[in-house]
């Protein structure tokens, strides 16, 4: 049976009038990559900061590795790595020195530390930049340094708070592969991000948070089953009369029809033969089609349907 690495019960955190975390519960098993999704201000970072005992909270209990987490839990901290959304390194230390400094706060043995620093630097691919100062590194390299500083001591539990913000696709791909390797090597990872495809790619379980609450939880497939949209069909048409739009709306499983700029968009509930039914209708009424696209819902659709489409701060 897998060990419970993190357990949060009934966590409440207020910033004066604002309820940032609202009776939040969470359990993470060893070996998971948990994706914490949510719009800006949904309480993801606040939850992580409470977990790390950096923030005071109003109510609830937090346990890590089966022990209550407090600022003095040095034995727990020994096994934790943190990669924050803002790069947290010393501007006046080189790449090597930064990684060595942070590793040295966990590992006292010099020889062992040297090996670990070397491994971490190789892991993020910064071998050619050992003597570079952070300000000389590109955004992607800086993010990789930020990761190396957080993982050099080989933590069992890693917190990654939007580690790929403002990173080019190549660096992002490299970082994501690295995270998967860390997980394969036994690390449990809590990963927050706004990038749905990243979460979909690497997370074994996802929690969607908003207004400090857990709105939905499960694997990507489980989350997709929770929403109304089962399939979205897009067809290029020269023209479509209002009468046909109304008829299509009445087809089985269809719940929303839009026709804009010669593109018909039909949202269907889960069900079989949605595309065939629609194409048959168009054929029967001699409506000429252009290209046809059929899409299953993405995590982005799940996210927008659960958290709403209104703009956030």
């Amino acid at each position: 049976m897998k060990q419970t690495v993190v357990k949060i019960e009934n966590l409440v955190k207020r910033y004066k009038e604002l309820l940032a975390v609202d009776h939040f519960n969470l359990t993470i098993e060893e070996g998971e990559i948990l994706g914490l999704l949510g719009p800006n201000g949904s309480g993801k970072t606040t939850t992580i900061n409470c977990l790390l005992s950096l923030l005071q909270y109003d109510k609830g209990t937090i346990e890590i590795f089966g022990k209550p987490m407090s600022p003095d839990s040095y034995d727990i901290k020994q096994q934790i790595g943190i990669i924050s959304q803002n790069v947290a390194v010393f501007e006046d230390l080189t790449v090597y020195e930064n990684v060595d400094y942070f590793c040295g706060l966990y590992v006292k043995n010099k020889q062992q530390r040297k090996e670990m620093v070397k491994e971490a630097i190789e892991f993020v691919g910064l071998e050619d930049y050992l003597k570079f100062y952070p300000k000389k590194l590109s955004g992607g390299l800086l993010r990789r340094l930020n990761i190396a500083c957080g993982i050099a001591h080989k933590p069992r539990l890693i917190f990654m708070d939007e580690p790929t913000v403002a990173v080019d696709p190549q660096s992002r791909n490299s970082i994501l592969k690295g995270i998967q390797r860390l997980n394969q090597n036994g690390a449990t990872i809590i990963y927050t991000s706004h990038y749905m495809e990243e979460v979909e790619q690497i997370c074994s379980r996802i929690i969607i948070m908003d207004k400090g609450r857990n709105l939905a939880e499960g694997t990507t497939e489980e989350l997709k089953l929770m929403i109304k949209t089962g399939e979205t069909i897009r067809i290029e048409l020269l023209d479509l009369a209002a009468e046909h739009i109304a008829n299509i709306k009445n087809l089985k499983h269809v719940f929303l029809v839009q026709f804009e700029d010669s593109l018909l968009t039909v949202h269907c509930r889960r069900g079989s033969h949605n595309l065939v039914t629609l194409l048959n209708y168009l054929n029967e009424h001699e409506i000429t089609c252009g290209r046809v696209f059929s899409e299953l819902p993405t995590l982005n659709d799940v996210f927008l349907e659960i958290t709403g489409k209104q703009l956030r701060d």
């Binding site: 910033y15 790390l52 950096l54 600022p71 040095y74 790069v87 010393f90 040295g104 500083c149």
Partner: protein, 378 residues
């Protein structure tokens, strides 16, 4: 601990902005002071002996008294003039050759001829004016109240005695030295930038870097102490460099007691770093604002200790002396002054105790603020 200390030292040494304020700026300001004051000092030194010719055109009471006065002014270690008693033709030749700065023609009255305008000419003019003023006063009294003449002469002599300069201690009281002492005090207070930067890297509410350090298994108080010690060490080394520059390059006199001078500097460094630590741990502004406040406040303290205007310290001493007792910059300046001037250590010890008490208060409050375990917001 040694690991953290090493990197804390490296960070402090590589921070160019800190190095500018704590090393280059004091050196630049010291050099500026040196060139500004040296021309004044050189001029002051040349006051001592002004070559002058005295030509007696007619012998009478006035000429006798004036010649007697010029002889007195030419006597001793601090002679003001070098008189040559000669005739009119030779005196004019000496003046045209530039061998003398002026000629006193002595008759019933005193007439002064100078070659060029300048400080020496002004002094010669002052001598003749003073003589004429005193002579006129004594003559008037002799005519109106002859019975009072001895008393008046005694009084004039008495005034002269009262105004005589008496050395209080071992050293010389150079007017401009206080500027350099205030400069060192400023350098010590600028150590507050290091203290502030260390706090920014320790308070999780102030930077992501500090948040990362707070979740490591290294105790926060260990980090605070290591960073503090590293900052004081670097600040002290920079102070020694500035002191060496002032003493060996600019030839500023810090007295003979080097042990005490260095001790004072070291206490100043502790005070500076603890001041920055206090400000960083108590003010809730963003780091840039806090740094601005620190620069302004440090310069204000230095201004009050006489960095920009030497008289200010005396004005404060006469009006609000408590400020001089609690202003760290004034205490440091005064401690250096005491080491150069006084034979005993009473005032120096009082200054040092005050500095240590202030540092202890700063450190205690900072530790109480920094030991906070969790933050209300980040």
């Amino acid at each position: 601990m040694l690991h953290s200390f090493k990197y804390s030292i490296l960070c402090a040494l590589r921070n160019r902005s800190q190095l500018f304020w704590t090393l280059l700026f004091p050196i630049m300001l010291g050099t500026l002071f040196h060139f500004a004051f040296s021309s004044i000092i050189e001029t002051t030194e040349s006051f001592s002996e002004i070559p002058v010719a005295i030509v007696t055109l007619a012998e009478n009471e006035t000429s006798d008294a004036f010649i007697e006065m010029t002889r007195q002014l030419a006597e001793g270690d601090e002679a003001l003039i070098v008189p040559q008693y000669t005739d009119e033709a030779q005196a004019e030749e000496l003046l045209s050759n530039g061998d003398i700065d002026g000629i006193f023609y002595v008759n019933d009255e005193i007439r002064l001829v100078v070659a060029t305008k300048g400080i020496n000419s002004s002094i010669l003019k002052t001598i003749s004016d003073s003589y004429l003023q005193i002579f006129s006063t004594v003559s008037n009294i002799a005519q109106t109240r002859p019975d009072m003449i001895n008393e008046v002469i005694e009084k004039i002599s008495g005034d002269i005695n009262i105004n005589q300069e008496i050395a209080l201690g071992r050293g010389e009281t150079d007017t401009f030295l206080n500027y350099f002492y205030s400069l060192i005090a400023m350098q010590c207070l600028f150590g507050s930038f290091m203290g502030l930067h260390r706090v920014i890297n320790i308070q999780a509410s102030l930077s992501p870097l500090a948040a990362r350090r707070n979740v490591t298994p290294t105790r926060k108080m260990v980090m605070v102490l290591v960073d503090f010690a590293a900052s004081v060490c670097i600040q002290f080394i920079l102070l020694l460099v500035v002191l060496a520059y002032l003493v060996f390059v600019l030839q500023v006199n810090f007295g003979e007691q080097w042990g005490f001078v260095i001790l004072t500097g070291f206490v100043g460094c502790i005070l500076g770093v603890s001041f920055g630590t206090l400000v960083g741990s108590t003010l809730k502004a963003n780091p840039r604002t806090t740094e601005g406040i620190l620069v302004c406040f440090s310069l204000l303290l230095c201004f009050l200790s006489g960095l920009m205007m030497q008289n200010i310290k005396n004005i404060i001493e006469n009006s609000v002396p408590i400020i001089n007792r609690i202003n760290p910059a004034a205490l440091l300046t005064d401690a250096f002054y005491c080491l150069t001037v006084y034979d005993n250590y009473t005032r120096y010890t009082r200054n040092m105790i005050s500095l240590l008490i202030i540092s202890a208060i700063f450190c205690t409050i900072s530790i109480l603020m920094l030991r906070r375990k969790k933050y209300a917001s980040l």
